[in-house]
């Protein structure tokens, strides 16, 4: 046996491996066939229109009164069924208190995300009286179940969207929310302890170290009181730096701080990046410190705040501010660390630069080199250069010091250019071709203009010049280009967030939708057509951000069965299949329930009037879109139980009777049968006896 010859061994081994290979490849071929069978339907070959098809297309176009441009616009935006969009637009939902996610270029609404307002489909704020979401929505102990969402901010890594988290500010109540983009749910809402309203929220620093919340209307910080006569002395603005803990996916309130600002009504903000990393820029529009009083014959706010020729661009060194807080130089207001103005001046944390009066947006160019301030009341955008700003600070080019001791940099020393664009410039975004795009509110137009500096070589035109304007319908506020506020904009799509739609859609009563218009900015030069109008009939959005869809790592189901979306981990309390039941401890009753197509277990739950109920449900599902709902009529309870999700809610069974509960999502063919009864037995059975019918 030991001496068999080598040649034979090789032969036999070869035979064996051939057999194994044959088997494996047969299997691989079978798998391949399987894959092909599915993908065949999705395969699209390049088209070539036959004369008959051209005639057909022309006929349809003429019947529908479409131009060739309309046909092109339609073919640039139409998405066949099953085809996914290239980008996701995360838009503020304004007073709806929500966020909208919209696919681009199709402009299809994908879904809304409930943030500051209870939303029943998502089961957000409808888990009975002790709802954790509703508690989260309290402002200083008062229920404030709505918000005015303004500026969404996607989390960033090295100044680029990373697709992990989304933040948004509530202007009305000075709150900031954190949304986890794995499951697209709001995870946290922080209430600013200093101020009542904000506007410069939210903007993130390049690695999402901080979520910036700039204030708006000055008040006495920490919810204090002072009469308007003491405005200059007691009212203050502020900017808060919320520390973001990426690993936890939460704002770390204990490591956050604020910077006191003069009562100049801070407006929009943007974080510096690359060349300007470490700085935050904020506009202001009431350096007059006007206090209004039209009822007393004084100039109204709208006039009073527009008297001076200039306001102040705030240049904030947040790294120095962070250091000052660590060195114990902050004082506590309402328990929150605040760097006061004297410390800010002494530590070189805050500088001002003059800006044409009452500007609106401040936007940093992708390379961090330029800071663009849009005039609003001035037909120009004013461009500052970070090199000039740094040099002016180093050389102490100070033209004045304001009433609070903050140095004001010399305007000519920091200004790079002023570009005349048209009436009402508000906000600016960027592309990859050396252009900037600024919304013109009064002109109702999107303007394209050329950047200078390192950008001049990217385009053929003269730097710092208006190239073209595209009319939009109507009254554009913010605009948003694809990744247009990051270090690497994509330069293909732009959204005009038109505030008025007037005649664009069928009339919808006196309240009209807003108009999101998709603008094609892919071609350089003067071509910039509007491709699509999308009515937004839910709240008035402010800002939005557009992220490449493949950056989102969205879960299609929860990772494990029994997942708690609030903690983003498996919850040990989650009822398991086969372990369902009702556990009573005196008047404390715990219901352990599972939901699976198409039944709840248990289906009958008996409790006594006055019992304190803890109800736990696990959705024992792991299939995409196999979502269940759970409602109990009369107890204000409706949950959305997404595949794998665990939910717990508590209530007091204070209303005796028989309550059907059922699944509120059409989960299966036997969805109507997915129900059960909550029996709340009255304390005294006599009370429940039917009254004898009154005899006439």
């Amino acid at each position: 046996m030991l001496g068999f010859n080598r040649q034979c061994a090789v032969k036999v081994l070869a035979l064996a491996s051939v057999a194994a290979l044959l088997g494996a490849s047969a299997d691989a071929m079978a798998q391949e066939t399987r894959r092909e069978r599915r993908s065949r339907t999705k395969e699209v070959k390049p088209i070539e229109l036959s004369p008959a098809q051209v005639a057909e297309l022309t006929k349809v176009a003429n019947e529908r009164k479409l131009t060739v441009d309309d046909l092109l616009a339609a073919s640039k935006t139409y998405m066949p069924s099953g085809r996914h969009d290239d980008y996701v637009l995360f838009s503020s939902g304004g007073q709806s208190g929500q966020i909208f996610a919209i696919g681009v270029p199709s402009m299809r609404l994908l879904r809304s995300i409930a943030v500051f307002t209870p939303e029943s489909w998502q089961g957000y704020g409808f888990a009975g009286e002790g709802d954790a979401v509703l508690e989260r929505l309290n402002v200083n102990g008062k229920a404030v179940p709505w918000g005015d969402t303004h500026h969404p901010a996607l989390s960033e890594t090295a100044g680029d969207y990373d697709g992990q988290f989304l933040f948004i500010g509530d202007k009305a109540n000075a709150r900031v929310a954190v949304i986890d983009l794995r499951d697209w749910e709001t995870k946290q809402i922080v209430k600013n302890p200093l101020t009542v309203s904000d506007h410069g929220a939210s903007f993130v620093t390049p690695n999402t170290e901080y979520v910036v919340e700039g204030g708006q209307y000055a008040t006495v910080l920490g919810y204090g009181y002072a009469p308007p006569e003491e405005y200059k002395k007691s009212y203050r603005g502020m900017v808060t730096f919320w520390k973001f803990d990426r690993a936890k996916g939460r704002i770390d309130e204990a490591s956050s701080f604020a910077l006191e600002l003069p009562p100049y009504w801070q407006d929009l903000a943007d974080a510096g990046k690359v060349a300007s990393d470490g700085l935050v820029f904020i506009n202001s529009f009431n350096s007059e410190m006007a206090t209004g009083g039209v009822e007393q014959g004084k100039p109204p706010f709208e006039a009073g705040v527009s008297q001076r020729d200039t306001d102040y661009l705030h240049i904030i060194d947040w790294k120095r501010a962070e250091r000052a807080v660590k060195e114990g130089k902050a004082k506590k207001i309402n328990g929150f660390p605040v760097i006061t103005l004297d410390v800010a001046a002494a530590e070189g944390i805050l500088h001002f630069a003059p800006e044409p009066k009452s500007p609106h947006g401040v936007d940093v160019s992708p390379n961090g080199q330029f800071i663009v301030v849009a005039g609003k009341l001035d037909p120009h955008v004013t461009v500052y250069s970070i090199d000039r700003i740094k040099k002016a600070i180093a050389d102490k080019k100070i033209s004045a010091t304001d009433d609070y001791g903050i140095p004001v940099l010399d305007f000519d020393a920091v200004k790079e250019a002023q570009v005349e664009l048209g009436l009402g410039p508000l906000h600016t975004q960027f592309d990859d071709k050396g252009y900037a795009y600024t919304s013109l509110f009064l002109d109702s137009a999107v303007s394209r203009w050329t950047l200078g500096g390192d950008y001049a070589k990217l385009h053929a035109e003269e730097p710092w010049k208006l190239v073209t304007k595209t009319p939009v319908q109507y009254n554009i506020g913010h605009l948003c280009a694809a990744e247009g506020d990051t270090v690497s904009p994509d330069g293909n799509y732009l959204i005009s967030m038109s505030k008025w739609s007037v005649d664009r859609f069928l009339p919808t009563g006196p309240l009209l939708p807003q108009n999101f218009q998709l603008v094609d900015i892919a071609a350089a030069g003067t071509t910039m057509p509007v491709l699509f109008d999308m009515p937004i009939g839910v709240g008035e959005p402010h800002y939005c951000q557009m992220i490449k869809a493949d950056k989102l790592k969205t879960w299609t189901t929860y990772p494990e069965i029994g997942w708690n979306p609030h903690t983003q981990q498996l919850d040990p309390r989650a009822p398991k299949q086969g372990k369902e039941g009702v556990v009573r401890d005196g008047s404390q009753v715990t219901i352990n329930m599972t939901a699976i197509r198409s039944h709840f277990t248990p289906e009958h739950v008996e409790v006594n009037e006055g019992d304190e109920i803890t109800w736990r449900i696990t959705a024992i599902e792991s299939t995409q879109d196999a979502t269940h709902g759970f409602c109990i009529g009369g107890y204000n309870i409706n949950l959305s139980l997404e595949p794998g999700e665990f939910a717990e809610f508590k209530f007091v069974a204070d209303k005796p009777g028989t309550y059907p509960f059922y699944c509120t999502e059409f989960c299966s063919a036997l969805h109507l049968e997915m129900m059960g009864y909550l029996h709340v037995k009255p304390k005294t059975t006599t009370a429940m006896k039917a009254e004898p019918a009154a005899k006439p």
Partner: protein, 223 residues
């Protein structure tokens, strides 16, 4: 008795003969060895796949059978099956699944034993390994028929889905689903092993039969 055992074990190869033609005697042994390896390795590969396609499952549902367990979208398929009153898939072939690994190890040992038996009796030891693939498919078919035929008549969809026999290989259908079933790598390895054993016996016969014949002749014709 020793005579019978010796008869079953067959003739031993004289050392000078072995030295003269080592390949002749090594070949069947080597083929048996390779077959054993293939059979052992097959434990780690799927024996059978089924894909279920329906409109609301654009990516399909997959069911994969290993010798000792089921894998894939078992939960979802069970969830759907409960509507037609089919028992959970894991309840099928419990004994087979729990014994499968030991059975395969035993087959491998039998084949190892066959290597030392130089008579036609060696075939007997290899029969389990040779017939195993067919046995697996037959067993799968029987279980599927038992499950498909034994639907709970009180199930919600029993009016529209009557008892049926799922298709164990190739294309079939049930309700809104099309099913596509095929053999997996593990099964191909097991079939390869069986084939290799058959081939091994050809070499086995070529090597040892002349020795047996010579031995018999020697016994018949006294020297």
């Amino acid at each position: 008795m020793p005579g019978l055992l010796a008869q079953i074990a067959g003739p031993r190869v004289p050392p000078d003969e072995l030295a003269r033609r080592p390949a002749r005697y090594a070949t069947p042994a080597l083929l048996f060895a390779v077959a054993r390896v293939l059979l052992l390795v097959s434990i780690f590969f799927p024996y059978w796949h089924m894909e279920l396609v329906a409109p609301q499952y654009p990516d399909g549902l997959f069911l994969t059978a290993y010798v000792n367990h089921l894998d894939g979208d078992v939960k979802e398929i069970d969830g759907l099956n409960h509507y037609i009153g089919m028992r959970p898939l894991d309840e099928a072939a419990r004994v087979e699944k729990s014994l499968a690994i030991w059975m395969i190890v035993a087959m491998v040992l039998f084949v190892e034993g066959a290597m030392f038996v130089h008579s036609k009796w060696a075939v007997l030891l290899a029969v389990p390994a040779i017939t195993f693939p067919a046995f697996f498919i037959a067993d799968l078919h029987l279980w599927m028929r038992r499950f498909g035929q034994g639907l709970d008549p009180s199930a919600p969809l029993s009016a529209s889905v009557k008892p049926f026999t799922p298709t164990v290989l190739g294309e079939g259908g049930i309700g809104q689903f099309r099913t596509f079933a095929e053999l997996g790598t593990g099964m191909w390895l097991a079939i390869g092993a069986a084939g290799m054993i058959v081939v091994a016996f050809w070499f086995h016969r070529r090597a040892f039969r002349p020795l047996s014949v010579a031995a018999r002749r020697a016994a018949e014709v006294p020297a």
